[in-house]
Symmetry: C2
Amino acid sequence: MAKLVAPETSQIDHSFCPVYEAINVLQEKWTLHIIRTLLDGPKGFNELSRAVGGCNPATLAQRVEKLEHLGIVSKTIHSTMPPRTSYALTEAGQALQTVIEAIDRWGRQYLPEPVAL
Amino acid sequence: MAKLVAPETSQIDHSFCPVYEAINVLQEKWTLHIIRTLLDGPKGFNELSRAVGGCNPATLAQRVEKLEHLGIVSKTIHSTMPPRTSYALTEAGQALQTVIEAIDRWGRQYLPEPVAL
DNA sequence: TATAGTGTTATGATTAGTCAAGTATTTGAA
DNA sequence: TTCAAATACTTGACTAATCATAACACTATA
């Protein structure tokens, strides 16, 4: 799995760059949507799914697990049967509000119309 | 950001929400890396590829084309043979610096160590 | 002449994401 | 009572995205 790194002449060293890592975390599909939704307050799984809009449960479960692992989201199980869970942002997750706000401002200014692809 | 308090309803209208669209644009793999790299200044294709680090040329070409279409990146062909091109950020692209900076600050504060997956 | 550079595009393989359906249980309505 | 809907996911099959690699035409340097 370890890959031989190209000669040092022209390759940039990403060995540990916080911005690079942060971008890698946030760039996964649905991640930013999930965080934005949770900025509104804690939500259960299906509630989150509906609010995010369009993410299928398999992907959502995987994303939420990874975010929990990264300390961005916390999961609380209130009762096992009937199942009742809630997902909330940790401090690190709340701190992403500044990122979402920056995206929000940019979007309002530079995406005034629906994007046709 | 407007914190629309949705007490019980939980169904959100995404008909046209600039933040939602902006997130969709920025969440695609390599997009933020490309923009961050170009904040450093205009680059040629291979130069960009090296600086971004790890993106394969097919994907990079596709991303860059989409970003050009969205008015975030501009492409200038200086000569066809030998090929010489340069990719640069437009005004809308430059405006994403605030987003990258927010991610940067977050990363430095909350990702102090390499993320093990 | 040989090697490395330019900007792409083509290939076929791998990985990531999607879809529909199912699990076990309770709550609320008919 | 019995049925439908809700809860939080999981599973397996499928498709779309991304991957590494190589090719192309051509120049500039060694």
